[in-house]
Amino acid sequence: MNQQVLEVVKVGIADFNIAKHPQTIMTAGLGSCVGLILYDNFSDIAGLIHVMLPDSTMARNKSFKEGKFADTGIKALIEQLEFKGVRKSSLKAKMAGGAQMFNVKSENEMMKIGFRNVEAVRKQLKQYNIPIVAEDVGGNRGRTVEFMIDESLLKIRTIQEGVTYI
């Protein structure tokens, strides 16, 4: 019997974490939120962040979960990966999410938050010089994502389309 118990690291909303192969790392029910994977081709470690809002300047309190915002969250995740010995210069990214779940025609900027989250993540990655290898963003469907570290594959599940890999 060569069966391993495959452990899945689950990342909550507005949170981030890292996993080491044979673990996989996943987050469920992404709507307007963005699930961003940071990984490289050399180590067996990857990080995932479940970004809820674009920028920490939106925060009305000084204390908040770093993972909630694209700017503070991506910075914190990179630091954690570096702490585990991953080189920042070798990092790559895959992302999914940023949907608009309800077809709201509103002046309220909060209703277009999916698009803004994606743009904010792109801006941060550009700043850190991290290339986006693959993405599945926008649309109006919820997504659950799981990253297989050894294959650098992101599994994306939606209700309508089923499972795809990027």
Partner: protein, 207 residues
Amino acid sequence: MEGYFERIHLDVLKEIGNIGAGNAATALSSLINRTVQMTVPVVNIVSFDEMMMEVGGKDEVQAAVFVQATGDISGSMFFMVPPKEADLFTQMMIGEQSKTVSSGDELATSAFLELGNILTGSYLRALSDFTNLDVNQSVPHVAIDMVGAMLTQGLLEISVASDQAIMIETILHDIDGLDRELKGHFFLLPNPDAYATIFESLGVKPL
């Protein structure tokens, strides 16, 4: 957030859930011409993840109608049911077995949207009458998707101020003449600014 709330504040919110859902139950009852029961509301101060667990987990599929409240009290409101139960509700409304919300039928979906619109509308109207505050309801929106993906939309305004939400949850159930249990969930998620307004208007000492 929890520290700022005393027993009385939670009781007031519970009463809001009670009156709101009571009114919605009456509306549903006359819409489908059957008696409808409701549970005692539950008011929970929860993390976002805990909130999604309440409805069965973030990737549990539900049919939802989402409306925004604006005016003196702003916030988000959801009427959420499992897709198969949405089918039962709409079959009672349009009397057509073959058209279902879960299969994406347009007529059934728009009937479900209207159902959500009427129920959230009666809930919010009761809230407005009870507090004597102005509450307007946005155009309703419908989706059938993962709970986490949909509920997040109602948490955005809250999340700029807090990592926790106050969830006022009421369930309609025991609908007369049906051989199976039918449950509809109401979630009212007031924006952080709304609480002071609500408590002040009801003469409860401010936070």
